[in-house]
Symmetry: C2
Amino acid sequence: MDKIYIDASRVFKALGDPRRAMIVDMLSCGELCACKILEKFDISQSTLSHHMKLLCECGLVVGRNEGKRTYYSHSAEGIAKTKQFFCDITSDKENCICRRNKF
Amino acid sequence: MDKIYIDASRVFKALGDPRRAMIVDMLSCGELCACKILEKFDISQSTLSHHMKLLCECGLVVGRNEGKRTYYSHSAEGIAKTKQFFCDITSDKENCICRRNKF
DNA sequence: ACCTCACATTGAACTTTTTCGATAGGTTAA
DNA sequence: TTAACCTATCGAAAAAGTTCAATGTGAGGT
């Protein structure tokens, strides 16, 4: 299995949870600290921390520490890469010019 | 939890498996019958059938029966919807004009 | 120094997903 | 009508993901 599929799948897996997809949407309005995000969900603090970790590890979100708070925001690079990958695997390739595989 | 996140997350969850992401990529060269897809993976036939079912159920892929074979191909509508959703939740919204939520 | 606050980590229970072998259903070929 | 072929479904086992309470960590405030 090509590493490129595994890396991209990690991002999609992260977005595969409705709460995490909603968190990414929330961050489109700008960075938010964890406590603000937590207010919007009926989950424990440790659960949110786990979700944020996954979003950061897949490269879609970045965290920034300021004092005792952590602010999260979109990672423009991670988002661009994911968008590109999605377009790559979903756009029709004439004459079967598959860049990743030869089928 | 808004239904729109749940529906979109189902697609991302489907793409969250590297094999399924690879299958979607394979289909960008045009429709393929299940047996051709199966050749490319070291998995059982029933496992592939399960993967294809998930890809179809989330709306990203469509199946077509012809004789004893089943041909799978991209669903242009499902792909367009998913792309739109991804753009919605990842594009910066000035002045916090969040369409889905008010944060 | 001590306490509180914000967040991360750990460990365990629970749920979901993945996978395969076995089997069923429908199609084509002999 | 058999038999072979292709795919879907079922049931069970294994793997992975989710969640929370408890605890750890590190920054500020008293």
